[in-house]
């Protein structure tokens, strides 16, 4: 009954209530959308990281995370690992890689690079490197071909078909190298990757680094991202202590930290916006209550307790905030849907690419993102209503009735 009473009280002065509703909706829609863009950005960073190199899970020889040297390898083509992966239905695809460092020289320039040997077919199923090809052919078509990031090729001033020399220190410590031709150029959302990575065929990389049939890592992608941790634990148990099984979150904890820091930022944003809003709500409620002094006196006289009067005012605050929240959230969702093709941020392309974010960004809002503003709004509305509510109930009925 108090709910109904409070609701109707709101609409005694529709314009005043409408202004408050609009203020609340603007506050929440704006905040939700900003956070949506931020979360969209982090999402992109995570997606890029996973799809370019990390995958969902990586398997290395034990101790690799602390000391990622060339010598820490999985022997025999990581056969046991592969077998375990093939048995597990949660695994969507897997691939093997060789990782090392080297120097790449062209006739005109040189650059320090990471040399990654990839399995031509499998790599395409796991990462987006194959799709990122903008010129030339993927690996496997012809021998002694290397794939370069577009910006790396620019730095070295080479084009498709040009010769390059790759110098490395192999597994036994000898300085060695090989000649390759530029077989293709790729462009990924990560400028870091494009600038510093050279791709070779797995077999040729194994020869270059004198690894025999050993590989540096096995990369796995799953069907359902929520199963990553479960799969990781079962794999780790199955494969034993000679290998390390790590999820992407463990390999790049910074991505997780970024989400956490955005969560904190969201908290501050909502707290600030809703505090400002609380003043406005308190003001309106105070005015409304003041106008109803005599009526409240009458209500108390006929037997409405102080507590109920307080509850009624608090409910009015909750109602107006609730309506504002509903409208604001609807607007935010609508805007997110409208912007689903992404906001054009090409003016910031380079800055974004440094973190693996493509220049078209869509805001992302999930169910959990609505929880925080709801709670904070509720608390703010409650606090805002305290003074007006206590003010409403403070007078004795007889005095309130006589109010002029």
């Amino acid at each position: 009954m108090l709910l109904r009473f409070a609701w109707r009280n709101l609409w005694r002065n529709p314009r005043r209530t409408a202004i408050v509703v609009v203020a609340v909706s603007v506050g929440i829609a704006g905040s939700l959308l900003s956070m949506g863009v931020n979360y969209g950005m982090v999402d992109q960073m995570v997606v890029t990281a996973i799809r370019t190199e990390l995958g969902h899970i990586q398997v290395h020889a034990a101790g690799w995370e602390d000391e990622p040297t060339l010598q820490k390898t999985l022997p025999g083509g990581a056969a046991t690992v592969v077998a375990a992966l093939e048995r597990d239905p949660r695994v969507r695809a897997w691939t093997r890689r060789v990782r090392g460092d080297g120097l790449v020289n062209s006739p005109r320039a040189s650059a320090g690079v990471r040399v990654i040997g990839v399995e031509g077919e499998r790599e395409g199923d796991v990462s987006l490197l194959r799709e990122a090809l903008v010129a030339g052919n993927w690996l496997g078509a012809a021998p002694r071909r290397a794939l370069l990031g577009e910006s790396l090729a620019e730095r070295l001033q080479v084009e498709l078909g040009d010769k390059i020399a790759v110098s490395v220190q192999d597994a036994s410590g000898d300085l060695t190298g090989g000649g390759f031709r530029v077989g293709g150029l790729f462009h990924t959302p990560s400028s870091e990757l494009d600038r510093s990575t050279l791709l070779l065929g797995l077999g040729e990389a194994q020869v270059l680094f004198a690894l025999g049939d050993a590989v540096s890592e096995v990369v796995v992608v799953v069907h359902d991202p929520d199963e990553v941790e479960a799969l990781r634990t079962s794999l780790a148990k199955e494969l034993g202590p000679q290998v390390e099984v790590r999820s992407w979150a463990q390999l790049e904890p910074l991505l997780v930290y970024m989400v956490q820091s955005f969560d904190m930022m969201a908290w501050y944003l909502y707290a600030a916006v809703f505090t400002a809003m609380a003043f406005g709500i308190a003001n309106v409620l105070l005015m409304a209550v003041h106008e109803r002094t005599r009526e409240i006196g009458m209500l108390r006289a006929i037997g409405m307790s102080r507590r109920r009067v307080v509850a009624m005012v608090v409910l009015e605050s909750m109602w107006v905030t609730g309506v504002g929240l509903a409208v604001g959230m609807a607007v935010a969702l609508g805007a997110t849907w409208l912007l689903r093709d992404g906001i054009d941020l090409s003016a910031f392309a380079q800055g974004l690419a440094a973190y693996g974010v493509p220049p078209r960004l869509s805001p992302v809002l999930r169910a959990r993102d609505f929880g925080m503003p709801l709670v904070i709004a509720g608390v703010a509305a409650g606090l805002a209503s305290l003074w007006p509510a206590l003010h409403a109930a403070r007078e004795r009925p007889a005095e309130a009735l006589r109010h002029v």
Binding site: R12, M304, R308
Partner: protein, 238 residues
């Protein structure tokens, strides 16, 4: 005895001036009475009515309803008492503007926690009783002054209180409408035994009352049972 009051005092002190709003008032009210507290403004009649209605705490003296002393109850319990045992009709601001007439009548029952069906069942006949059976869905602003006061009366009696306290209920009405309102209350008193206690300086009310307690400067100066000057239901005056 329905209502007993002994030695009621209320003193106001303001800027060095001491006013005795009530100066030792004794009063007994029996069930079925149709009585008025009369007197000029400042005589203390409203103060007395508010004390009897558990809206004011006296500086001295005691009030008891059905033997229950008000002084023994805390503020919350007094509110409960007002809710269940008393009915109020004020001069104005009786009704909640955002509720319909029917919802206003049901309001007290809602506060009491009565279920919806029972509330409905009780409100409708009371609305008919006050002659507003077809205006139940109207909001107070859509009703005339007299109709609003009738709704107030309906609300005051619907939960069958022990006593209805009416503070200048006719003050804002023209004499014809006032007369009809008084007839209504008289009928409720005669046919249903509802006890009414008015505070008034309206001669119409005083004529309708069967007992007049006159107050002056905070004291009872007269307490007369008047012979009923008219049959209940007959309009008095023009």
């Amino acid at each position: 005895m329905l209502l007993e009051a002994r030695g009621l005092r209320k003193v106001y002190e303001g800027r060095g001036v001491v006013t005795h709003a009530l100066d030792g008032v004794d009063l007994d009210v029996q069930e079925g009475e149709f009585a008025a507290l009369a007197g000029p403004s400042g005589s203390g009649k409203t103060t007395l009515l508010n004390m009897l209605g558990a809206l004011y705490v006296p500086d001295a003296g005691r009030v008891a309803l059905d033997g229950q002393a008000y002084a023994d109850l805390d503020a919350g319990q007094l509110a409960d008492l007002r809710l269940h045992k008393l009915g109020f009709v004020f001069q104005a601001y009786n009704l909640i503007p955002v509720f319909s007439a029917r919802e206003n009548v049901e309001f007290v029952m809602e506060l009491q926690g009565v279920e919806t069906q029972v509330r409905r069942a009780r409100a409708q006949p009371v609305l008919s009783e006050v002659g507003l059976e077809r205006l139940g869905e109207k909001r107070p602003l859509e009703l005339s002054g007299g109709q609003q006061q009738r709704v107030a009366v309906a609300r005051a009696i619907v939960s069958r209180p022990r006593l209805v306290l009416a503070d200048e209920p006719t003050a804002n009405l023209d004499s014809k409408t006032a007369g009809r309102l008084l007839d209504l209350m008289g009928r409720l008193n005669a046919e249903h035994g509802v006890t009414f206690l008015f505070s008034t300086h309206d001669p119409l009310v005083m004529e309708a009352a069967r007992r007049i307690v006159r107050l002056q400067d905070g004291c009872v100066v007269a307490d007369e049972v008047t012979a009923p000057t008219a049959e209940p239901g007959t309009p008095e005056g023009a």
